[in-house]
């Protein structure tokens, strides 16, 4: 295990196992939205392929600009393009105007253009978005500004006061089997998720919820925006696979909901915990000491998952993570101090291109680790999608058990997931 310099900034290697939701898939979560990309023809090709792969071809348009447009400015081209699109498609309720890095340089006032289009088309919400990878390491990377643009489409005249909670962070919906839903239902508190809606007018309900539950870092930016603009109250309760941490999350929410004079009707936390412990024992019995690799493509906090699995008696041998995020640093330190034999590998380090293969007899949690180590068994999980609470642990145990039943076809898994590389 590395000691002082686990995380280096080097020339990046991107494996076929890397990738998650692209900007198109994220923005398309806003129902009845259409994404117009204004760019030179060479830009966004990757996004275009992703759009086709995910079935969003009909919800994306490309307005190509030329070098001459860049020199002279192309505000009119954008206005004409938006006009043409809106005149041909009357199903669009929200239009996102995406501009690339070029517009950061030439200073296109895309917000103002969006307002102009909106004024001409009452009833259609138009927002500017920036697909500018040059801002990737700033405080406003494309994902953050896109989420803000998505949330800014919410129009609500009422204050955020309904006894309801928005789940913010994971773009995929949480598994409806999660006890999280029965917990909130026991307090008569509705649960809302971005992916729940088919109509934009219904999507705006998110602005009425009193609470936000932030399940992963991407949700932090969203919650800050909602707290500021709608007056929501946000609680950061990241997806966890540690029993004690999950118990604490529910205690914290119990306290908060009791301030709303809500009484808990029926929710058996102890029973959930007992079921989870039984599932862990059963999976441990099946896997025995097979090596487990935890990849940050599978979960947002890989060190915390590794710590939890080690605590349950599993044989975690490697964590494949580019960095230790804020909410994962404590677990990272814990592993350094208590499990010095565990290997920590940066998947995007140039050395990872060598794909060193110590033994294929291992279970990789996540595609990227599976690709780098060519492991026989793979847990098909990305970005904690669908996972939350005790049921999240049980589902992971189930996935681990299923993974070791047969050798994985990783290529097929990646293609089926539609990871954007």
């Amino acid at each position: 295990m590395c000691v002082d310099h686990c995380f280096e900034k080097t020339l990046n290697y991107t494996s076929p196992g890397h990738g998650g939701w692209g900007i198109i898939r994220v923005a398309a979560l806003v129902p009845e939205s259409h994404l117009m990309f204004i760019c030179p023809s060479a830009c966004f090709r990757h996004g275009a392929l992703g759009a086709i792969q995910h079935g969003y071809k009909d919800r994306t348009s490309y307005l190509y600009i030329t070098p001459a447009d860049v020199v002279t400015g192309y505000d009119n081209v954008i206005l004409e393009g938006a006009e043409e699109l809106l005149s041909e498609d009357d199903t669009i309720k929200v239009l996102f105007l995406f501009v690339p890095c070029i517009d950061d340089f030439i200073g296109t006032d895309i917000d103002s253009l969006a307002r102009q289009v909106e004024q001409k088309h009452p009833g259609i919400t138009v927002r500017a978005c920036h697909m500018n990878p040059i801002a990737a390491e700033t405080k406003k990377p494309p994902l953050v500004t896109t989420i803000q643009s998505m949330l800014s489409t919410i129009q609500t005249e009422e204050p955020a006061s309904e006894l309801a909670v928005n789940l913010l962070g994971s773009f995929a919906p949480i598994d409806p089997e999660s006890e999280l839903f029965s917990f909130f239902a026991a307090y008569s508190c509705k649960v809302r998720q971005m992916a729940d809606y088919d109509r934009h007018t219904d999507f705006c309900e998110l602005g009425k919820s009193k609470y936000n539950l932030v399940t992963c870092p991407a949700g932090k930016f969203a919650s800050r925006y909602m707290d500021k603009h709608f007056g929501t109250v946000s609680v950061i309760s990241m997806t966890s696979y540690e029993i004690e941490e999950i118990r604490e999350i529910y205690r914290q929410w119990q306290k908060l909901l009791e301030t709303d004079s809500c009484a808990l009707t029926s929710f058996d936390l102890e029973a959930e915990e007992a079921k989870t412990r039984a599932a862990i024992l059963q999976t441990k019995e099946t896997l025995k000491d097979i090596p487990i690799l935890v990849s940050d493509s599978a979960v947002v906090r890989p060190f915390s998952l590794a710590k939890a699995l080690l605590g349950y008696g599993f044989n975690v041998t490697e964590v494949i993570a580019q960095d230790a995020l804020e909410g994962d640093k404590e677990a990272y330190q814990y592993l350094l101090e208590n499990y010095p034999s565990i290997t920590i590998t940066q998947p995007r380090h140039h050395r990872s291109a060598r794909r060193e293969n110590f033994s294929t007899h291992a279970v990789a949690i996540g595609f990227e680790g599976a690709y780098l180590r060519q492991s026989d068994y793979v847990v098909d999980l990305s970005a904690d999608e669908g996972m939350y609470g005790f049921q999240g642990i049980r589902r992971l145990m189930d996935m681990l058990e299923k993974a070791v039943t047969q050798k994985a076809d990783l290529r097929k898994m990646i293609e089926e997931y539609g990871a954007v590389v």
Partner: protein, 257 residues
């Protein structure tokens, strides 16, 4: 908060006018002056020529760790001084420099932190590209004042600026609120500038008389308001400050009713 952009041909005396205006306004208001010129010399007479680190210098050096204390300097009578900075001459992009600097100030919530009553943007030359239009966009300045003399090239630039601002009138951008005549002793100067103002639908709001006190004050690293407060030209700047506040406050009042 009142936000004002001062435009005009290069060398016409925008920075001198802006810093004297800032010094005059600072008698009654909390003022922030933001120099939007790669030369980074807009605020030097408010800072006694004290060197200032520009926003772009600090972004280059500290990346995301830049804080407001790295880029906001307190000058004469508490005027808050910021210089956007710019690229190395001959390379890079000056317009992008202004965009980056103003976005950084916004990101760091400079106005929320310092809560100035008045913000002055001192903008280099003509509105030649998107970067130079940045200070007049929605959320930045609401008022543009153009500094000009009676010289042909200064008037030509003033006309370009006026047209550029007018082009954006449907976008909620700033509007031209007046012409400042910075006298250069050109023949029939007042008449010539008055004719330009009338033809472009603006008004001359103040004549700044020619005076060697400006140069003497600048040699001392000061504005005339600080160095020669009893001079005629200091009186011109005080009057300019008063007129500008009348115009801006009147418009603020109209917005409210």
């Amino acid at each position: 908060m009142i936000k004002i952009a001062i435009y005009g041909k290069g060398g016409i005396g925008k920075s001198t006018t802006t810093s004297n205006l800032a010094a005059a306004l600072s008698k009654h208001y909390k003022v922030m002056q933001i120099g939007c010129d790669p030369k980074a010399d807009s605020t030097k007479n408010l800072l006694n020529h004290q060197p200032i680190r520009t926003v772009l210098d600090q972004i280059k050096e500290k990346g995301e760790d830049v804080s407001l204390t790295d880029i906001v300097y307190e000058g004469y009578n508490g005027v808050l001084c910021v210089e956007a900075g710019g690229p190395t001459p001959g390379i890079g992009c000056a317009g992008l420099g202004i965009i980056s600097a103003l976005q950084k100030l916004e990101e760091l919530e400079a106005f929320e932190e310092y809560q100035p009553d008045i913000v002055l943007y001192d903008v280099l030359g003509d509105v030649v590209c998107g970067g130079f239009a940045m200070p007049i966009r929605d959320g930045y300045a609401e008022h543009v004042f153009i500094v000009t003399s009676g010289e042909m090239m200064a008037l030509f630039a003033a006309d370009n600026i006026s047209r550029a601002v007018d082009n954006f009138k449907n976008r909620g951008y700033a509007r031209v609120s007046g012409i400042i005549l910075n006298e250069r002793k050109v023949k029939n100067e007042k008449e010539v500038v008055q004719q330009f103002a009338s033809e472009s639908g603006h008004q001359i709001i103040q004549n700044i008389r020619r005076s060697d006190a400006v140069q003497r004050a600048e040699d001392m690293g000061k504005t005339v308001i600080e160095a020669f407060p009893d001079s005629d030209i200091a009186a011109d700047y005080m009057k300019l400050a008063e007129t500008i506040m009348d115009i801006c406050e009147e418009k603020e009042y109209r917005k409210c009713v």
